[in-house]
Symmetry: C2
Subunit: 209 residues, 2 copies
């Protein structure tokens, strides 16, 4: 479980040639960091007189981010879990027609599973961006820079995770499904990077003016 790993040991594992953790796990952790930075901003807003009017709304967002942060860490583990069966499937025999068909069926199944995890990371990164957009508007001015950093980590989760969608759809024989998954991922990337860049620029303007 990534949650229990020591940071220095985890980055060393990431750096090693071991297949996991890799880009997928890193992207999920990036999502958790983006959510956590949003939580920090919410926590710095709650209880302050100046933000009393939005306190209830902020509390709702905080609960959402707490849940998302945990879900990202679970997804980092899931990303590692779907890798081994896929890697194993690549090694299945394909000498006879039956073996070949069986291998193909199993491969497709596991490629799909390995695509759905990063897609879920992407969808959750979009949820984080929505909440950060609210916090950029209504959260404590004292913590606005942390909204900006959070946005960048949610963005990295999104643009990082999509790489693992592409790798897995690339090997799929069912091209219709592959293209559907890619189209969904590309839609999230387009909307998410635009939204992230808009929030970030707004935060930046607030800081340098």
């Amino acid at each position: 479980m990534i949650e229990k790993k020591v940071i220095g040991a985890w980055t060393e594992e990431l750096a090693s040639k071991a297949p996991v953790p890799g880009g997928g796990g890193a992207s999920a952790l990036g999502g958790a960091m983006g959510a956590a930075l949003g939580q920090m901003v919410a926590n710095l807003t709650i209880g302050k007189k100046r933000y009393k009017d939005v306190e209830e709304e902020i509390q709702l967002r905080l609960s959402g981010l707490e849940k998302l942060q945990k879900e990202f860490l679970v997804l980092a583990d899931k990303d590692a879990e779907v890798f081994a069966p896929l890697s194993k499937a690549y090694g299945l025999p394909a000498d006879t027609r039956e073996q070949k068909e069986e291998k193909e069926r199993i491969m497709e199944e596991r490629l799909l599973a390995a695509s759905l995890v990063p897609l879920e990371v992407m969808e959750k990164a979009m949820e984080v961006l929505d909440i950060l957009e609210y916090l950029a508007e209504k959260g404590s001015r004292m913590a606005i820079s942390d909204v900006g950093v959070g946005v960048q980590f949610a963005r990295a989760a999104l643009t990082g995770a999509v790489m693992n969608v592409y790798i897995n759809t690339k090997s799929m024989k069912n091209r219709e499904r592959a293209e559907e998954l890619n189209a969904k991922a590309n839609g999230l990337i387009e909307a998410g990077t635009r939204q992230a860049d808009e929030i970030y620029e707004k935060v930046q303007r607030g800081l340098v003016s």
Copy 2:
């Protein structure tokens, strides 16, 4: 030391209202993750027949990334270390002219220290990008997606760290120095995000074609 922290505990600390870790520490960790992903790609390239011609060059880059990864973790700690003295300086008395002058002098000194740490994170993120650019070209094709994810984390380190440059230069009385630091940071952001986006698009094209 961030290196010794457990991931789940660290993200909880990041989420709390405690001032550190905050966006600065997260950005530095993002840099370490970007470097680690580059190391993974280098490690997956070294020892492969197909990449024998570039092995020595890749080994050099790997050593560079190993050093950078460690430096980012040290910078995450440094980011926390410069915060307390700055926070303390805000509370110094300013009742007499002497006190006011003394407070201003100390504030300036500590604001500068707190700006230089994220600037260093930015500079090191640029170094990671240069190495990732090389790996995108010459590294193992099997690991190309991890170059893409690494680029996104180096980018987040850069665009995240700059927020802490802006916050600290904003409060500086020496506007000439503040503008100099901002100009330096903005130059890095402009060149770095362009470079990151170029490498990423190249990797993406290779994956979806």
